[in-house]
Amino acid sequence: SCDFAPSGSFSPFRRLPLPAKRKYMRSPLSPEMATQEVPLNETLAHLKTESETLKLKLEEERAKLHDVELHQVAEKVEGLGQFVMKTRRTLKGHGNKVLCMDWCKDKRRIVSSSQDGKVIVWDAFTTNKEHAVTMPCTWVMACAYAPSGCAVACGGLDNKCSVYPLSLDKNENLAAKKKSVAMHTNYLSACSFTNSDMQILTSSGDGTCALWDVESGQLLQSFHGHAADVLCLDLAPSETGNTFVSGGCDKKANVWDMRSGQCIQSFETHESDINSVRYYPSGDAFASGSDDATCRLYDLRADREVAIYSKESIIFGVSSVDFSLSGRLLFGGYNDYTINVWDVLKGTRVSILFGHENRVSTLRVSPDGTAFCTGSWDHTLRVWILMC
């Protein structure tokens, strides 16, 4: 397997050894076209002109409503003071890069997955390992906790998403009960249960997202529209309906209707791969983190980007983002080993956190907002809280 020697100094041009995030054109999927007659005026050139016109119209419409900047409106809000956040738990046990983590709804358990093929369930209060599974592949890029807390899902270079029921019996071999649910034609980049243990949403290097029935493994809906690998996804808070957002190597963030499979909104302002997307707690907006070293906020009702979180001194990609409970803070895990904490409304950085000894690859705030957890290529996970 590919490895590169971790160095003590920053190397801005370090590349991911595996897997390669490839940009490619997929063959379009439209079986329904086989039965339609092609109208006379629909030559390729005509369609291209029409799409250019529509794009311009979209930009015009969006611009008309761009009457003010978010940070200007936020001038009347009180500024945030000094923030001191510290690591309160360090979870050690992975033998290689931590790639993904997720919180259990009980606010204390965490599932994490690693390049070495291991998936571990931790009690973050005690730092004890409760379960460990060895996957048949390396680079387990995605993992998720089931809402019930009774199962975890994971996958990566095996192109699948598998569900493991968690047994109360610590001696039981979890791998024996494994259920293969999703099958993609390229690596699994992210997975998430919907609001029950019965359905899983996945994103893949094959350029698609998909919704699966866990019990039968049946594909319920697929989502086509990204022009390259899809790297991340996030489900809208349940109150706001059946939508989710995905981000990809095509620099686009797409919002999807889960029932119809339709892409309802699309945003293309990042200058590089989008590694992470996360809904604002009200569901009216979402944040993204990208290899272009910026985080951005997109408002869904204004249908545009409303904030960029960046500094000239920050030149490394963002791997992972999440909001605090009120949505006022945005946490970003970066490839330069740091976490930057942003004032979402004012657009300024309120804190920079050090601790990890390699890239921060994954970051999630706990379900009750008391802490956030980061996973890193330094093989560890850290749980952080606000010191006050």
């Binding site: 054109m25 997929r26 063959s27 379009p28 999927l29 439209s30 079986p31 076209m33 092609v38 369609l47 291209k48 029409e50 799409s51 529509l54 794009k55 419409e61 969006r62 003010v68 900047e69 978010l70 409106v73 936020a74 809000v77 309160r88 204390r108 005690t126 099958m183 993609h184 034609t185 493994g217 049946q218 086509h224 339709q262 892409c263 309802i264 909104q265 009200s282 009216d284 907006a285 408002d299 009702r301 204004a302 249908d303 409303v306 605090s324 409970l325 009120s326 949505g327 006022r328 803070l329 979402v344 409304l345 705030v365 009750d368 907002g369 008391t370 802490a371 809280i385 606000l386 006050c388």
Partner: protein, 85 residues
């Protein structure tokens, strides 16, 4: 454009048409998609921003990473897990 090998589950969605009709179909899908997006009902950024701000301020007090909470309510605040001797 080569057709990717596909699993049985995805096979009903994959097309094996000749490249030229694929390009037209692809372009038509893009136009369709843009028409959907163009028809979206948008609100002004000022209104959207005001609503984001309202949400933040209404929920600020109950945001532990923003305001902090009592050590007794935060299970992560103790440095070491308690052991009963």
């Amino acid at each position: 454009m080569s057709v990717l090998p596909f699993s049985a589950v995805l096979s009903s969605r994959m097309s094996t048409k000749a490249p030229s009709s694929n390009s037209v179909a692809h372009a038509r899908r893009i136009v369709q998609q843009l028409k959907v997006e163009a028809g979206f009902e948008r609100i002004k950024v000022s209104k959207a921003s005001a609503d984001l701000m309202t949400y933040c301020t209404e929920n600020a007090r109950s945001d532990p990473l923003l305001m902090g909470i009592q050590a007794s309510d935060n299970p992560f605040k103790d440095k070491k897990p308690c052991t009963i001797l």
